[in-house]
């Protein structure tokens, strides 16, 4: 029909229908995640060859039960479909349905059909039909729907399924026929809809109706038409009534069709689901199981991640010194070996932990278990102003707050979502660990109590618990103070249990890890470079440092290494960042910190773990982040000149631990929160609120202990 070589195909379907599996099979590794213009929802796109001369760009739209959106993700579906008369929108839509829930899936299908876009219906999980006692008259169904229908089992026979879908897409594209299935207008209020149609006959009635009910207009619509449409909107009572009528009519129509074509013998449905639900949603065992799963996850993260993390650390340290020695000395050498390479290393080091955590979360979601957790936790979380769905972001937050904040998108109530976003950074993310590790090693004796419990490990565990409890308390306070009405309501589908698809899990982990690398990575890297600049440049005094020290020490017997260390240390003191550290010293003195710790605090705003590296530089230890013992020893021997006692004594260490537990020292998270809440107000609230809390608590801790 058309001569263009590429067509646009969109996959749409209810959650848990295997839509993403189909997408992964169609596109394989030819996929990428981009952004929809102006919104933050990820756009998954890939391409697939339909014929030798025809390629399809395939978009995986977020899972939805209906075109009428109730969450941010679902709004994307509506927007994509409503712009159907413009360039970049789908030529063919594939509605992916699950054979067991065909009736409900057909509701979405009927809505898409009424938009008069060429559509393919792909009924997935056909291999389950026999087990569930389902029979379908495919030929008659095609006729009744006047549409291409394919039965497939993406999990079991991916190749056959994919070929069938491709064929159906081609056939539908070439015939390009599209007409409504339901003609809702005739059944509700024909006169009303006739008047609506007059506004612009180019659009289907259903399209115009959606523009009114969803207050969402295609780019191409004129101002006059928009005004005319808005006059229809005034009667909101009718609008709601008509929407209800529309849905009921759609189901009537679907029931009529399925009566002739679809037969389900309920007695054959297996009771595996019921048996598993009895355990997983049990009032007592359900919780025990959930907390056991959580413990196992955290345990494995620590066990599995430490080896690759050490490896990454060593590789980057070696790379840094290699570049430093091989490149000609100068600013460029310093920039690369001291700014860029450690900056990138500081991002890569977190990948093992983050990837492992997301591997588990993805597995739990794929199997259907996560919905049971949401069910179990909803009432408890609601007391804190959140939703059962907030559990997933709060767990993710222990890896990194960035993907965690993004995982709040499917929480439909705005107040619940906002509170979840605001408190997530209290959970102990992986960037806090290096800081905790070194301070704990300094101030807590490596002793066992009661013969088994390691005191240091216990302190770390307490910090995790402190993070969670603070998140909960903050949520309660926000719940009581925020005057926002929850407009949306809560409904969660409890999907059938199934074995996870490793392919889906793999792509999911890749996608979320990428979100961290590119979300946090860019900011961590650029701040690392800024910090490097501030630390290696300074006013006049800075340039004179080297000369002065050499002059001063010329008569003394000192090694070259020692001399270089003295110069590096004095240079830092006189650099811009040294000056900044000194200027905040009066402010942080009541917390027990000096200007050197002040520098580390400032540089921690790039990412918390920079704390260790900065102190290493300040104390002019051989700048090898990996070698904790040397940094530790140097920190342990640092003396507070005013009291002549150890700088990192118990009160200072505790004060620092508390500060790092509470303070919002992560620019990348602030940037993501701004993006997700669409205003600077909330990241600012977070920054100030958490900062003040950290300051006050550290102050109290230090003053009481010292």
């Amino acid at each position: 029909m058309s001569h263009k070589k590429t067509i646009n195909v969109a996959l749409i379907g209810n959650p848990n229908t295997g839509k993403t599996s189909l997408f992964n099979e169609l596109t394989g590794l030819n996929q990428k995640v981009g952004n929809y213009p102006g919104v933050t929802v990820d756009k998954k796109e890939g391409h697939s060859k339909l014929q030798s001369n025809l390629k399809a760009i395939i978009t995986d739209l977020p899972g939805t039960y209906s075109i009428n959106p109730t969450s941010l993700d679902e709004t994307i579906v509506l927007k994509t479909l409503l712009n159907s008369k413009s360039e970049k929108t789908p030529d063919v839509i594939v509605v992916v349905a699950d054979v067991e829930n065909l009736k409900r899936n057909l509701l979405l299908f009927s809505q898409v059909k009424d938009l008069e876009i060429p559509t393919v219906l792909a009924i997935n999980m056909a291999d389950q039909m026999k087990r569930k006692g389902i029979t379908i008259d495919l030929k008659l169904l095609k006729k009744e729907l006047s549409n291409e229908v394919v039965l497939l089992s993406v999990r079991k026979d991916p190749d056959i399924g994919v070929e069938e879908v491709k064929k159906a897409i081609l056939k539908t594209y070439n015939s390009a026929k599209a007409f409504p299935l339901c003609n809702v207008n005739n059944r509700i209020d024909p006169a009303y809809f006739d008047r609506l149609k007059e506004i612009n006959p180019k659009y289907s009635i259903y399209e115009l109706w959606l523009m009114i009910t969803q207050n969402s207009f295609p780019d191409k619509i004129s101002e006059d038409e928009k005004k005319a449409l808005l006059t229809f909107k005034n009667d909101s009572k009718n609008l709601k009534k008509y929407q209800h009528k529309e849905t009921i009519y759609r189901y009537q129509k679907i029931n009529e069709i399925l009566k002739k074509t679809y037969l389900a013998d309920r007695s054959k449905a297996t009771d595996l689901r019921a048996k598993l639900d009895k355990v997983f949603t049990h009032k007592i065992f359900g919780y025990i199981l959930f907390f056991t799963v959580l413990l196992l996850i955290f345990q494995s993260i620590f066990d599995w991640a430490s080896l690759p993390m050490d490896l990454i650390d060593t590789v980057f340290a070696n790379l840094s010194s290699y570049v430093n020695q091989t490149m000609p000395a100068g600013v460029l050498n310093n920039l690369i070996s001291e700014g860029i390479i450690p900056g990138i290393g500081g991002i890569i080091i977190f990948i093992p932990q983050i990837a492992i955590l997301f591997l588990f979360i993805s597995l739990l979601e794929e199997t259907g278990y996560m919905s049971r957790v949401v069910f179990l936790m909803d009432k408890i979380m609601r007391r804190f102003g959140m939703s059962g769905k907030s559990v997933i972001p709060l767990i993710s937050g222990t890896a990194c707050a960035i993907p965690a904040v993004m995982a709040t998108r499917n929480i439909s109530g705005w107040k619940e979502r906002l509170i979840t976003i605001l408190v997530t950074p209290f959970t102990t993310c992986s960037a806090r660990l290096p800081v905790y590790a070194i301070i704990i090693a300094l101030i807590i004796p490596d002793k066992k109590i009661f013969g088994i419990l390691n005191l240091q490990g216990l302190t770390l565990l307490s910090l995790y618990i402190l993070g969670f409890i603070t998140a909960i308390i903050a949520a309660i306070i926000l719940h009581k103070t925020l005057k926002i009405k929850n407009t949306s309501f809560f409904v969660v589908e409890m999907p059938d249990y199934k074995l996870p698809s490793l392919k889906n899990v793999f792509f999911d982990v890749i996608e979320k890890t990428k979100a961290f690398i590119f979300g946090a990575g860019k900011i961590i890297l650029s701040i690392s470079i800024v910090l490097w600049f501030l630390a290696s440049n300074g006013p006049q005094a800075y340039t004179d440092v080297e000369k002065n020290i050499i002059e001063k020490t010329v008569s003394q017997e000192i090694t070259e290494v020692k001399l270089n260390q003295m110069i590096a240390s004095a240079k830092l003191e006189n650099s811009y960042i040294g000056i900044m550290g000194k200027s905040i010293e009066p402010l942080i003195k009541p917390l027990g910190y000096d200007w050197k710790i002040g520098i580390a605090l400032i540089s921690s705003f790039a990412a918390r773990e920079v704390f260790v590296g900065t102190l290493a530089t300040i104390y002019s230890v051989e700048s090898d982040d990996d070698d904790i013992t040397t940094i530790k020893q140097r920190m342990a021997s640092e003396i507070n000149p005013e009291t002549n006692t150890k700088r990192f004594n118990f009160p200072v260490g505790m004060s620092l631990l508390v500060f790092y537990a509470f303070a919002m020292q992560c620019m990348a998270t602030l940037a993501i929160v701004k993006r997700e809440t669409k205003s600077w107000k909330w990241p600012l609230v977070q920054f100030v609120g958490m900062g003040v809390l950290a300051y006050i608590c550290s102050f109290i801790v230090f003053q009481i202990l010292s």
Binding site: R104, K283, V492
Partner: protein, 75 residues
């Protein structure tokens, strides 16, 4: 008023025509229609949320919503 919230675990009922305007659109769209069969599968502690199977869809809804949807109990 007999609503979904008054069901016992394992009990069957039909959604009454009267509650049409009380059912949120999203729930309607997920198959919770007047006339549809509804079964209570499980209750979370404090009887909230409710895990129901309606019209073949397995859903969890909050008590607040469930107590607005009237039902006729199956005999």
């Amino acid at each position: 008023m007999t609503t979904i919230a008054s069901l016992h675990i394992g009990e069957l009922a039909y959604i009454s025509e009267e509650s049409l305007n009380e059912i949120p659109l999203k729930l309607l769209e997920m198959g919770c229609l007047p006339g549809a069969e509804v079964e209570l599968i499980q209750l979370a502690p404090l009887n909230d949320p409710l895990y129901i199977c309606v019209n073949g869809s397995h859903l969890a809804i909050r008590k607040e919503t469930a107590s607005k949807i009237q039902i006729i109990k199956a005999q």
